[in-house]
Amino acid sequence: MTQVKSKLVWIIVGLVLCELAMTGRGNAAPTPALKSKSSAPSNPRERAIQELYNAAKAEGAVIWHAAGSVESDQPILDAFHAKYPDIKVSAFSLASSQVPPRVIIEVAAGRVSMDIASGTMEALLPLLERDLMVKYDWSKTSDVHPGNVYFGGSVLAFEDMPVVWVYNTKLVSKKDAPRTWEDLLDPQWKGSKIAVRASGSGFQGLLPQWRKDKQKVVDYLKRLSKQEVMPAARYSEIANWVATGQCPIGAPVGYEAFALIKKQRVPMAVCPIGPTARAPLACYIPKGAPHPNAAKLLLSWLVSSEGARVTMGLGRGLVLPPGVGDYSKFLVENGIDYIRITAIEDLKEVFTFQQMVMETMGFAPGK
């Protein structure tokens, strides 16, 4: 990965988002429901969508995996259901790291239990290697930007999930709040006061440093480990720990921090520790999914400009370029630089980096 590549992605995504911003950014209202027996659409894409909808109706349902909580995905699913009322949408929540192992064993058992799964892109590499994701030409049924389609149509990026450091303002004053990675090593934060994701993905901001000097990052993590940080299974757990005061400092994903601070007025603020780097959250359809057409319909809608409007209206979605959308502005306001990771070789490096973090920090029963 290079900064040049990420800048290129910024530009591409920026163009898409500027277009979205001009056509009614933040408008979460879905378009009217698609009639079951409408007259044949003249546009080839609309015709393809109608055909897909007819096939999906025969399946009747779609099962969605929420990488975060179902509660935060529900408005998106409700908007889809409002447009396609004949498709019943059910959702379940599971840490995205746990989904690929599940898909592998479920495919082997011949009983795949989900239609659409999601995860940050490095988590999907084992499925890519085993060819367990459905490939599809998304341009047939969606106006998705080609820059958001990966691995030959197997994977669709739909949301940036940069990790930000936050603190509970009732427990930590603004003056004491850490401002740099080094500040986290201050003795005052020793003893279960810092919450991070056990997968190590919250430390990807250290990737640029790791490339320059691996040992320096390992030494830093060893020192941080001595602070007795609290490993969480999921980012939502970290957000809630900080919000409830179980941990004064933590590193949840940005959109959860945004929702808690801006919408729920939780006593929480952002530490300007940067940069933050991460692969975007991407969706895919596992091979053997019980409702493949309904899954294609939902994904086609989700990554379309209409779906993106709904997602952005919730303060989620894509945040590049900086400053487009409330969520993106929130990151800029707090001085967070975000590097998006998408190239396969970079994703492989992320996987190795995270394994190193887990081993160094002792987050999982290792060797």
Partner: protein, 554 residues
Amino acid sequence: MVYLIFPPIGLLLFSSVRDTQQRLPFEATTFTTANYVQVFSSAMTYKLLANTAWYAVGTVSLGLGLAILFAWFLERTNVPFRRLLFILMLAPIGVPGIIESMAWTLLANPANGLFNVALRSVLGLSSPGPLNIYSIPGMILVTAMRFVPVMYIMISGVFGRMDPSLEEAGRTSGAGATTTFRRISMPLLTPALLAAVIYYLVLAMEVFEIPAMLGRPKRIFVFSTAIYYAIRPLGTGALSNYGLAGTYGMVLLTVAGLLIYFYARYVRSANRFVTVTGRGYRPRLIDLGRWKFVPILAMSGYFILAVALPLLILLWTSLAPRYSEISVATLPLLSLDSYRKVLANPSIWVAAKNTLVIATTTGIVGIVLSTLASWLSVRSKIRGASIPERLAFLVMGVPGVVLGLAFILVYASMPLPIYGSIWIIVIALVTTSLPFGTRMMNAAFLQIHPELEEAASTSGVGLCSTLVHIDLPLLWASFTRGFVWIFSRSLRETTLTLMLYAVGNQTLSVTLWYLWVEDAKFDVASAIAVPLVIITSVLTFFVARQTMLQEGAA
């Protein structure tokens, strides 16, 4: 029985000798000892062994210590309010481990746990602490409190049935109370206590949800959690390592199997220390005099810590707005919103329905199979008739997390559409219910004289008719009690249901796990936990009480 027990264990052994770093056991093409080499050459394994040993020994020491004390209070002293104290002591029996752990994270987490906040304000200490539930002592405390009632049931009979003439003879010979206890009472109690120690060591090694919830935040792992994380990796992009999990499973299975072997031996040898004779007697009760308040305080304190405070803090959390503090100022903000959210959530309804279907089916199938195994063992004269009952006993040595892993391996490799359905959970829970069910039904069969069946046989009545028309009516009370016990146990079971969870077969325990452990939605999780704990406690308490009363009458 053979179908339920041998294929899972066989495939577990098989997966432990396959190279499964990136593959499923049945995808791997070669046999290997690499998993065993990795496990036994790894410092982590010895750390896991040390953690597991400390946790299990600590739990049994604390739990059994309390159970012995309470049994002595209730069986051998003239403590007042005996019936009330008995109820208080048995009350925690139905509280699921996952819910007890949830409550204790709210009570004693080092940052803002209720006890810590109170202690810090009284003692002028700074955060965090002074208590830390995220530690092995914390795990021991929570597990031991759950074990006390069942340990009490196991050992109280020994206290109640000890021949007092032996102690009286000691005292007549001039021995003091301490000497009498050390030289006479303790040797009489030792075989039964040793059997209890071994049995509960196995059970403590198997516990999963408490170490998983209270150990993970401080990176403390035991064998059961290491197996879980080997197949449900925390790392993004990491795959399940079934070979490593299978090898950990074999290590745990071997240790548990050895302990169960010694348990069986001690139970047999314990019969040599018979102290109940044909004479009717009631052990002499020790007058506590002015110290009568001590048992009342001790047992009430136990009830408060094990049931009352956990239930109250969960009730508060279920009523209070999310992210609010426990304070008088929050009182006007209490509402039933979380309960409304629970009622409005379709996936929770699915979980409730699944839980009910699983618990009912497991209860029926479990008790029917147990009855048949017990009948064969106690009544049948066919050669090898006791084998099913002995196989059922073997299941006691298979930890839940190991059995869960074994069932995943079996049903993922079979062409039957069972993996991912509720039926894989039913099969697993029926398997684990057999040791309890057969013990219960063995005792019931032994109380019925075989003359009745012999008379039926002489009159030309067939085997099935005899079982249905003669044995079943006589056994009905034990049969229903067995059903309720297995039903209630299935309602609160977490380990197997979590291991075998797939979309669509989720239970309330699994829902609680994800809401609490992964989403930290404490309010909604508490709104599920409060009614669940009331239902399981009432059911389990009913069975425990009936069993104790029946044993008392016998």
